[in-house]
């Protein structure tokens, strides 16, 4: 799948993560801001990357601001951002989820 436009999902409130996604040309680039980046940065980026892979997205730029989100929240917010960015909000790809 291809990113068609910039999209945002999630908030900046506690236990949430905000995902901003846009077109990219150099694979998956993730810029993460998190108070627990040292401890969990890799894990958060991995959860985002895997979700993108599930949708067959190989080119994207992501800016993520984490406020202590659990993996399921990271996944859910990434999916929402992908759906908005690919204009696919109407027809969910359940297999990817």
């Amino acid at each position: 799948m291809e990113i068609k436009k910039t999209a945002l999902a999630g908030t900046l409130e506690s236990s949430d993560i905000q995902i901003l996604i846009t077109k990219g040309t150099k694979g998956i680039e993730i810029e993460l801001e998190s108070d627990v980046k040292k401890q969990f940065g890799d894990q958060i980026c991995q959860a985002i990357s895997e979700t993108l892979k599930g949708f067959g997205i190989s080119q994207a730029k992501i800016k993520a601001v984490d406020k202590g989100a659990l993996d399921c929240v990271i996944k859910a917010r990434t999916i929402a951002a992908i759906q908005r960015a690919t204009n696919a909000s109407e027809e969910l790809d359940w297999r990817a989820i």
Partner: protein, 351 residues
């Protein structure tokens, strides 16, 4: 505590009084028309009737962000208000945001994904989202291998005159590559795309000159929000230093610019202060060359404001001494539209 975000209508006296009183309690006292009139939307976070936090949007700029210090959860109210404002912008398809704030709040914004563009002792500017300054610079960069001598000129060119042309030609002769940045703020008699087009046409004969839009990063610095400054005396210095730092830290650094050319400005006090501060901030890393303004035989200076004056006075036949052929052609073809803009109240004075 049940927190709720609600819109505040600043045109409504009751809302305005509540908002103003809240901001005054946290030390913001500047409610001048220039600052408040630009606000498109204001949000308040309430616990029942009590206002806990507020923030506003002016275009894609966050303004008047304030959180009551005596409530529990100051940090989370701050995050909520910024989150709400960013969400409102996203609904409009805007994913790129700026904030101008006191230096002590820089870290709080960085925790929400803002990146520092420049910090002075009076204030700082940060941005967030896409497209950001890295995207802008990657788009205009001419070559991966830096050439020896790269220069930059920033101009409003409202419109492009023989004075501008002389300045660009001078830089073109003395350098391998010249970037001409045309300020993108749409506030003058000539619209942004018209100004950009005329600069491109007027410099077409110079193969080492690259004309680009200043984008969001070379705006009219005089419009930087300044409501949070402690003293109005700091205003020009704060605005111009910030502008000069963005140029130095980002634009010159990334594009390997080693000289900045400026036109002398004997008539405008603000511009002469600006040139002075620019020199202070940029040197010694970047040299600043001030090129003297050319005068006509009769002593008249070539200036864009002079050109606009002549358009307003219907003296198009006196323009060929002031502007190149390309600009003259545009003015002749669009004289009616330009005059209509002047009639509708477009200012012709100023820079």
């Amino acid at each position: 505590m049940v927190r709720k975000a609600k819109e505040l209508n600043l045109k409504n006296n009751e809302d305005f009084a509540l908002w103003k009183n809240f901001l005054e309690n946290v030390g913001i006292n500047n409610f001048s028309e220039e600052e408040v009139n630009q606000v498109d939307l204001t949000i308040g976070i309430f616990d029942k009737q009590k206002l806990l936090a507020t923030g506003s949007l002016a275009g894609n700029i966050l303004k008047y962000i304030a959180v009551s210090a005596d409530s529990i959860g100051t940090g989370s109210n701050f995050n909520l208000i910024v989150s709400e404002l960013i969400g409102k912008l996203a609904l409009k398809g805007i994913f790129h945001t700026f904030v101008f704030t006191k230096p002590k709040y820089v870290t709080s914004f960085q925790h929400l994904g803002f990146k520092k563009l420049a910090v002075t002792e009076f204030g700082a500017v940060l941005e967030r989202g896409f497209p950001d300054i890295s995207t802008y610079l990657a788009d205009i960069k001419q070559t991966e291998n830096p050439v020896k001598k790269t220069a930059a000129i920033v101009m409003n060119a409202n419109p492009f005159t023989l004075g501008h042309k002389f300045l660009v030609e001078q830089a073109s002769q003395e350098n391998d590559l010249v970037y001409v940045f045309v300020v993108a703020t749409n506030a003058g008699l000539f619209a942004t795309d018209e100004r950009l087009k005329l600069v491109k046409q007027g410099t077409q004969h110079l193969s080492n000159v690259k004309v680009v839009s200043g984008g969001s990063y070379m705006v009219s610095y005089a419009t930087f929000p300044a409501y949070f400054l402690d003293s109005p005396n700091d205003l020009i210095e704060y605005q111009t230093t910030l502008d000069a730092l963005v140029f130095k830290n980002w634009i010159a650094n990334y594009l390997h610019i080693n000289t900045r050319y400026l036109g002398s400005e004997p008539l405008s006090r603000t511009t002469s202060i600006y040139n002075k501060i620019l020199k202070k901030v940029l040197t010694p890393e970047i040299s600043v060359k001030i090129i003297n303004r050319r005068q006509l035989l009769n002593g008249e200076v070539i200036s864009a404001s002079n050109v606009r004056k002549k358009i307003a006075q219907n003296k198009l036949n006196e323009l060929n001494e002031l502007v190149p052929e390309t600009t003259l052609k545009f003015i002749r073809e669009n004289a009616a539209i330009l005059k209509l803009r002047i009639k509708k109240g477009m200012k012709i004075r100023g820079n």
